[in-house]
Subunit: 635 residues, 3 copies
């Protein structure tokens, strides 16, 4: 490891059965040896707490620590990982035990520089559980939130369909009913479930902080569009957030239904916007730079198909992460394990301990990093921000008004359009800090706070809200006076009705003399005086409205419209958008500009005059990158 | 409501938790007030019994009132609606309580003109339950039907696969077995389940009739092809049947797999034959005119996608219902509720109590109805009847000999062909009254009574049976002497064998010098002397046979054949079929002819000379209608 | 039966409820009568033990005899057949009882010539069960195999994800976990489950053998690709294996997703290679000729669609079975039953006891067989062998590295390519006898024994291993020194990595100046000196390697490559391949050559000079066959 130029090693994250082979009997000798060897070699150690893999003896002692699948009602048992319920007090207590033992023993170990909590919390659809312990905890949570059951009944509209409760103890989890349950009920369950994860996670921070002073604590996050957890809340208290970057597997899964010809160009590279999409989101979770805790170094084992990366991609992905602000990129795994579930998951070493295909690419990365000296170049804030709202995502899953509505696909489409214009993007939560951003785009903020539009635009930013913004109150009712509720103070519109359209049955949106597709979700707007109608539907009713700096787009559209509109808004906001081919992406870190070429042929980069190259040159090689320093006085 | 011109208001259908907020504690004051206000305003009140939504306290008292999903074995719990088992005696007793309380209090209220029992019985796939109470009731039902278990064993053919029982207590529900269960067993379960619904429903009639003299009782039916309940039996004892008309949602669901270009023309109008298909079926369930208890006034919330109706369609759907014989069309809902499951379901008022899009169309309906004076024009009987057989539907679901066989699609295809010929259609059950009908078409009567063909043709009607008619005995065995069993007395044929073909692999049927597709279900016929072979398969064997007025079609075919054949049969029966474009439909109510244009452009109607227009003129506007009075001496 | 020319009758296979109508009360009188009638008529009787259909009273006595569905956790109940768990001791004891009673009574009956054990063991996905009795038996099996739990932990790599056990009693079945369970765990469960079936079956042999001397014992096998049972192990102790041949149903299911135009040619004939594929596999299970215990004589009831066979096909299928070495072909069923689950399954007689469509074809078979005198012509061994490895099949299902990888489709593709070259094929297990074979093809031997390659090639055979051969150790770990593990002693290669590719995203393999598709599964090879690289990938790395007679193909390919490669290898091995159209197949039995024409038009057969025709002539009629005797000195 040292010879290759690695700096950090993460260890221990699944080793509970070795740390505590029998209840209360700890065995740390082998781990002491490992840490000593790593430390002696000058490597810095990150310890992962092993709470993602409780041993069998613990499950047998506390069978109610297992979660229950909400779809089937079946208990999710031992035999893989993540077999626990976030609401189990017994399991939480056991976690406190093992984490305390580790923190006490290694918290001040000279080789230990930081901690990873658990591992990929909520992976494998484990956020929601229909267990009795989850139900009981839900009732307690509801009582704490609503106080008395009459308030809950009123807030949820339980008079509808005689859903009224006489006490909190009558309330079940919203699963297994005859037809759809109340959206307020389901939203509460989503909030509760997210809170339970945060609470579970916080318990580890509370143990580690005092016992391991001067060390960082991080977590390797699964994107919140997959877990349904509020990652912003989950990240609170961490020093920085981490991400596990598997571009090929994610591309295979996300493009599962794409035709072969659309998928093929990215089969061995990953789609040019998918890794960055999650880099930028991870960076937004916590202050400080983010880490890649696991970087795919070759074919993996868990996607539907698992191709080999194209030559050069391991280096390109790594440097792309740094371009987006990563402080560290760590590969998973060091050596391919010859046994168990991940034996087909490549490492930097093969199972026979020889160098695997990615080895020379990592050697090249070490050289590149020396040339770039990135520690001296902080990423800085982007001029464009995308507002990502976990409640909008929950709402999209709860209220299936149009089955083709997919909050993540919408967020990704907006991001792709921005990246195709060469713009850097920060992600912020609706209550995040809008300073520094000249253009703020909110695909959907479902339940905006009062004054949100004013706050976002206060510093002069151009602001655009997408459809379904201000659609609901916190308890998923229609806001008084119709949507967009609190946004109306900035923009005098009313959403009179909504229609959803099947793919292939789109209508039109007309803007600047051009016609685009408008589909999936379309809102009928009434616009009061003072607002300007910028675009209209095929029936001439308003589809895009502006008042001052605040815009509202009432419909989902095609990608061409997003590109044209965002180009227009960005230009007006004083930015310099440019049109990039799909396979070429730009990214700025401080005064360095990275041009990343995902294509299998060279491409010329849009290099400004006076640029000073740190890597590569004006023509970027296939699956290669160039990095230049901006000349003075350039944006 | 009064100002708009409405006459009737339905109330109370989901209000159990307000009527009886705690066990045995009734609170009717608020409902008294509501009825008084409505009555004072001159509105007529229909009360819905609230038995579709038992409150949580009742479920907690009688957990065994919940049904069990036959596919998964999971109990279907509280949280939405229809969470009850038709076989639960405890629940039936509770229903008797609440219905009696309502009937006692409001049965003779001056403003109350009628009752709706429960709401959409069996919606959300609730006919079948795999609960212990259902199993116990099934055993009792079997004992009553078969007397002793040896009779049942013989009738079902239980010697096959050692399925013989030694007592009724050994018999389980036909669910969860290793592979397919006996078709006789499943048919018995379907009959039992249908009977349980009828029994449950009848209990409310028995309470309401004596307590509410002079008031009507109706029910808003879900089509029996969805519920699998014998709606003819369920309607017995009602004054008339009602239907809830949601053309867009039904079109979205029924055309779920249609390509976008086939779906798009009807996305905002509904398919021109889908609403009428259910109007005509509902009219056939009970004597008297039918009601539309719920008419969609805008986008709804429950289909996969929920578009806005095209302008004019709310008026057109409403008047189409009247054309088909409706006495009343009631809109659902009055005001869009801002909370709970249906908050995205449009009403005549928006959630902010302003007039929603449908309002002016309802105003127009009020004017149209004044012009038409339909109370003086009874619908009358159609000259063409379609025989609809719930047992054929059950058989098609139980015996999956060809997976693409779909009894409802077949019935709909025959109906569409007739409507495309401008013919009015009545639906009758196999034991219904064939008088008045000149042409009687039975797509499939699975288990015909002796003499059915003779009875249907007794008054001179031309009769056509489709394939799979006479296919089985009542216990789903092959009839003695092969199919079509009892039909053979009218038509000397034997069905020697059956084959089913995959879509896209059709054979041919040749008739009148033309060739059509024959697929999905094809029977090999032996034809005895005296019968005439009218059409043949590609191998020259008989496919369509006639003896006297009775015809037998041995195969499913394409739509072109149905149109050509029905045109021929109708002409021979003395009717005057004409070819209509798919988007134009005719409908006669008494001496009024309605021409309904579903297209987005004007169409000329086939107006006879001397017609006297009541609405519109010879060219029907887009999404509009014309109504004329027939001249004397015209058909 | 006798008049038609039948010889054998199978009876009793589902008659438990008649043999033992109540616990311990036997009734054999009716069966005595049946056997006496059959024997008196000169028919030979095969008795099926009725253990596939335990009666309800037995299930009620031993509810834990029911299996549990591993996917859903739901008990699979009474109501059809095969409702039992192979691990149930109570059920095994009951089976011993009924089989002993039958064997004692009929074992030496003069009319009884043999026995069929149970019926289609493991049909309807019954091999695997997640019941408590299966779990307990699994623990016992594991203890017997591994001795102590530390050995098991090490062998399975349970240190991964803290899956270590402290005792065998902690081990669950690998079902219902949060994400994928250990492949070693699942492989052990597959082996255990297969062993349980063998053990269950063996108990019947142990009873029948001593009680029925001189009679044969057989079983009608379901192909092991469907059951996941090691049919070679299951067949041990049988006199010969039997197969139930339903070409139309199998073609419908296997081509379920094929476009209509690809399916249509075989809709009424079955695919020309599907029946033979299973004939040749069945012949390989046990010494002696095989039987067709059930031959489809018309449309059946269980496929998605059930067409009628094309005229001539019942005869052609029958004679094709004889061509492949069958000793007997028995039709199922004699008379179509008018009741229960199989009432739409054709017989030789219709339900009204008249001759059904297949009757004259069976009459023709009787004449054909008289002309051919096949008893004097043993099939003999084929010069080509396909190695079929149940562990490779299990591995393909357990390790889903590429979702489109399908071990059966691969085996079938190799078989089709060989049959299209006019070659006869034997199937052997990896430990089977390679003598007589000049060309031995192993699509995948997952866990080869030491020296396998040397043993297969010892007699001078050309040997080809396909990709994923030598991929794993017995406990599903990567072999020491990388794959192909023990094959490396014959072929100095290392599989450095594997990639899997989505359909439609294939790469290339280049061989002999031509380019073919390489997809789904591709291995990166390192080749040491001494081995010859015969074909390469698009990046010029090795894809097909040879050392001496042993070849290794590192990738799955298209059909064209298989045909070209096999033609080349066969020619080099001294065989005489020829290219046949897809609808024409050749088959040799002794010195007789059968040419079978599946097309609907005549085809010329490749008749060598001097051939002496026994049936037909040089031009084979549509759905007909010709049979000639080879001239001396010809191959």
């Amino acid at each position: 490891m040292k010879a290759l130029g690695l700096t950090y090693v993460r260890v221990g994250e699944f080793a509970w059965s070795r740390f505590e082979p029998a209840p209360g009997h700890y065995d740390f000798g082998w781990f002491d040896d490992a840490l000593d060897i790593l430390t002696a070699a000058g490597l810095k150690v990150v310890i992962g707490t092993p709470t993602a893999t409780p041993p069998k003896w613990l499950v047998d002692r506390h069978p109610d620590m297992l979660a229950v699948d909400p779809q089937t009602g079946r208990t999710r048992g031992f035999g893989s990982r993540r077999h626990y319920d976030f609401s189990s007090e017994a399991y939480l207590e056991a976690c406190r035990g093992i984490v305390t033992a580790l923190a006490d023993r290694y918290g001040q170990h000279p080789g230990v520089v930081g901690w990873q909590t658990d591992n990929e919390l909520c992976c494998h659809d484990t956020t929601l559980s229909a267990s009795p312990v989850a139900r009981d905890a839900f009732r307690v949570w509801l009582k704490a939130r609503y106080g008395d059951v009459a308030t809950l009944n009123a807030a949820w509209g339980n008079v509808f369909w005689s859903m009224e409760y006489r006490s909190f103890d009558e309330i079940e989890l919203p699963v297994g009913a005859v037809t759809e349950t109340s959206p307020a009920h389901r939203m509460a369950w989503r909030r509760f479930s997210s809170d339970q994860v945060v609470r579970f996670h916080r318990a580890q921070l509370d143990i580690l902080r005092p016992r391991s002073p001067g060390r960082f604590i991080t977590h390797n996050f699964i994107p919140m569009n997959e877990t349904g957890v509020d990652n912003h809340a989950l990240a609170a208290g961490l020093d920085f957030a981490s991400y596990d970057n598997y571009p090929l597997g994610r591309t295979d899964l996300r493009m599962a239904r794409a035709p072969a010809e659309a998928f093929r160009p990215w089969m061995r590279t990953g789609h040019p916007d998918f890794a960055a999409f999650f880099f930028d989101q991870t960076r937004g979770l916590a202050p400080g730079a983010f880490w890649i805790m696991e970087q795919q170094p070759g074919p993996v084992n868990w996607a539907a198909h698992n191709p080999r990366p194209a030559p050069g991609m391991v280096r390109l992905w790594t440097l792309e992460a740094f371009a987006h602000g990563a402080a560290v990129v760590s590969y998973f795994r060091w050596r391919q394990a010859p046994f168990a579930q991940e034996q087909m998951h490549a490492g930097l070493l093969r199972p026979d301990s020889r160098e695997a295909a990615a080895w020379p690419e990592v050697e090249a990365v070490v050289r590149d990093l020396a040339a770039l000296d990135l520690d001296a170049v902080p990423r800085g804030r982007a001029r464009v921000a995308l507002v990502v709202d976990v409640e909008a995502q929950w709402l999209g899953e709860i209220e299936r008004q149009g089955r083709s509505y997919d909050a993540t696909e919408i967020l990704l489409a907006w991001y792709r359009a921005l990246r195709g214009l060469g713009l850097d993007v920060d992600f912020i939560a609706p209550d995040g800090d809008p300073a520094d951003h000249a253009l703020i785009l909110a695909p959907s903020v479902a339940m905006p706070a009062e004054g949100l539009a004013e706050r976002l635009s206060a510093n002069g930013a151009t602001v655009l809200f997408g459809p379904r913004s201000g659609a609901k109150t916190a308890d998923v009712t229609l806001p008084e006076g119709l949507p967009p509720g609190p946004l109306r103070s900035a923009l005098p519109i009313h959403v009179l009705s909504v229609e959803t359209l099947r793919p292939g049955c789109e209508g039109e949106i007309r803007w600047n003399g051009r016609t685009y597709a408008s589909g999936t979700w379309r809102e009928e707007l009434a616009v009061s005086d003072g607002a300007e109608i910028l675009a209209r539907y095929e029936d001439d009713t308003p589809a895009l409205v502006r008042m001052g700096a605040v815009h509202y787009l009432a419909t989902l559209t095609d990608d061409a419209f997003l590109s044209d509109l965002f180009e227009d808004l960005a230009t007006a906001a004083g930015l310099a958008p440019m049109r990039l081919p799909e396979s070429l992406r730009l990214c700025r870190r401080g005064d360095l500009v990275f041009a990343l070429n995902y294509a299998d042929m060279p491409q010329a980069a849009p290099v400004p005059e006076g640029a000073e190259f740190r890597l590569g040159g004006p023509v970027v090689g296939p699956r290669d990158l160039s990095v230049w320093r901006l000349p003075r006085n350039s944006d």
